[in-house]
Symmetry: C2
Subunit: 242 residues, 2 copies
Amino acid sequence: MAARYIQIKNAIKKQILSNTWQVGEKIPSERELAAEHGVTRVTLQKAMHMLEQEGLIERIHGKGMFVTRAIEDDVFMLNDGTSDSVQGFSREFREQAKISSRLICHQLLPADKTVSRHLEINEGEPVHFIRRVRLIDGEPVLVEDSWINRSVIPVIPSKILEEGSLYEYIEHTTSKKIKFYSSVIEGDLFGDELAGLLSIQPGRPMLKVSGVTKLEDGTAFNYSFSYNRADKFKIKNNWVGK
Amino acid sequence: MAARYIQIKNAIKKQILSNTWQVGEKIPSERELAAEHGVTRVTLQKAMHMLEQEGLIERIHGKGMFVTRAIEDDVFMLNDGTSDSVQGFSREFREQAKISSRLICHQLLPADKTVSRHLEINEGEPVHFIRRVRLIDGEPVLVEDSWINRSVIPVIPSKILEEGSLYEYIEHTTSKKIKFYSSVIEGDLFGDELAGLLSIQPGRPMLKVSGVTKLEDGTAFNYSFSYNRADKFKIKNNWVGK
DNA sequence: TAGTGGTCTAGACCACCTG
DNA sequence: AGGTGGTCTAGACCACTAG
């Protein structure tokens, strides 16, 4: 049972996406929407603040709330922290396109200094190391290296790595939600090895995203690097003041 | 007079940064901190949620709130939406390093289709076009192109563009705060022209950030592209669930 | 069981915008 | 003046974690 403000957020989001109001049009006031959904203003505000963060509405003090123009897209948008939950690559894109994975490597390795620091475990402790090439509609678009905390998931079926969603598998086996994802975005060029895995020329631009993913109880379970073809991905970011 | 939760956020942030608690240590509970600052839990929670978003603390249901390890840095972090306000390049970095600008171009141009759409004005309406090279400690690190709504700031002194902070100038002359910044991050390679302006080799990687900046009354006043040397900048992103 | 964060209510007052 | 979002109070109950 999701929180009331999440339900309301999704309900209003659905209304916006189904063009209940025109772009730029004023939507009902907080007080009206609160009454309509049978909640107080504070609860409704939590929902609306999320929609503002997601870039669907604009809130203007003294004026009201307005529908924002939806952003058009030619390339894929990496998760920018505007959805309810961290999806992971598979869940993020499987609605939009046929995604698949090629498992390059899966073994247990002792954690080095960097990995152990990010996973908050002792250096030398064995962790899963996984390298996968991810494909969208059969075309390789990124290489992802993951170091995964073995105490969170002792075994990872290869089937999951090749066909399923790892995050879904983890949420299922641990019965805990994913709660936190901290990432750093950098630009770089593809070198020979990674370019080879993606069948592209070395020297092409990449968006490198590295980060740590945690469960709701604070356990860090995944430290990852993904090397994305810059011609296939963008990252959107909304900043809302106050 | 800033809101109470902003003051409290900054006060606790200061405590964290001055090592009042160790990294990983539990800080006082919401109820304690609320009593200490003389506010209710909801108000205190707004402050703590911001600190969580900024990556300074971790909130774990049933356990408490914990200080997060501060991130170490070798390169400059572009604004990731975790500060109170959009600073702009000058304000963002002038505490950390000697920043300066080289004004390449400043003229009025009719807005083309893209610019007019982002600034929410009519096509053909004249806008400021500004190209600047930004330097950190005397080294050119990025090229920024800005299209600025002339109805928001009719004239822009060249002195501001070369020495001061444009955003500060705009907040001052309009007496409105900057409220919204929506950006898209892409990776690319430097071509001859931009590489020449930065005195680097063409083909080096860039982080391209484009976006729109708005005032608190919803007026879009700046549409910009910045071409950042990827070896000088990173972008940090925190995602917190729910 | 006691303590923690997560959610929600039913008000209130303020700051801002428009006619 | 009337409507809008922004902030805040003083409670309440729930869900999760620990000993």
